[in-house]
Amino acid sequence: MLVIFEGTSQVETTVRAVLAEILGLSADRVATFTADTPLFGALPELDSMAVASVLTELEDRLGILIEDDEIDGEMLETFGALVQFAAGKALV
């Protein structure tokens, strides 16, 4: 239980870093993101092309593979949803 929790927080740190670095957001701003912070549709920096960059960078950093049919509005809706999705793939 403790191992899973630690792993998830590492995934969360990675997702924060990727959003900051790819979208050009400050670390301070990304540090304020909570599970409910809306992403796709709310962040102007996160347009559909940036989505591709974010997902590919997450793949590279977490060593995961994201299939095209897994990419939908739900996993990009909030910061929490994206972290949960990434953790689900990374911590198998």
């Binding site: 990675t14 670095e21 790819i22 559909s48 092309m49 940036a50 960059s53 997902l55 590919t56 950093r61």
Partner: protein
Amino acid sequence: MTGLRFDTYDWHGGREAMLRFGPESGPIVIAALPLFEEANRTRQFTCTILRALADHGIGSILPDFPGTGESVVATFDATLADQRRAYSELIQRLGTHSYALSIRSGALLDTDADLTGRWHLAPQTGADLVRDLERTRAAAGKSDRGDEYAGNRLSPEMLAELRDAVPCEDGRYRVVRLDADPRAANATYAGAPLWRRSEPGNDIALAQQLAADIAHWIASCEG
């Protein structure tokens, strides 16, 4: 004379433009930008590295390849084979110790040249590049746009070549990555992946660190 100047080089298929920095004697660094959109995002950064190399007394060239930059060859008519050939013929004509400085998919262009060494920053395989292109196209909601990928029309031949293309790691080889990249590297540096941003950017501190890395490595190869 370390100032930027324009020049051209001839290869079997035509003439292409190139930038030169630093001295024209001694070991020369040949910079290869990534293919397609990442080239725009990393050009200024790469030029910063080359200027810093000139400060280390090392000359460099940033060439266009057929189908890239100012080339009159249309993107759709570009092939990886032609780009590699132009690269190789440029090296041949220089007739000096030449070192590749290849960034991301630029590492797919230096494979056939008679180089003294290759220095790669975050090299990308052709298969990963094609996956990136297809994902970007799908994200833009245009998965049935035939031969267009994120604004670039690519020939089936080019796509087939890219799918099989891998960087060359033979001989004197050094691979450097950013520290968030878990893949094997001879050294890692802190920095954000400029090639993934939506707008061109720069990282002067990182460029200077990388130039120092290259300069030290070339000195060890030459020594």
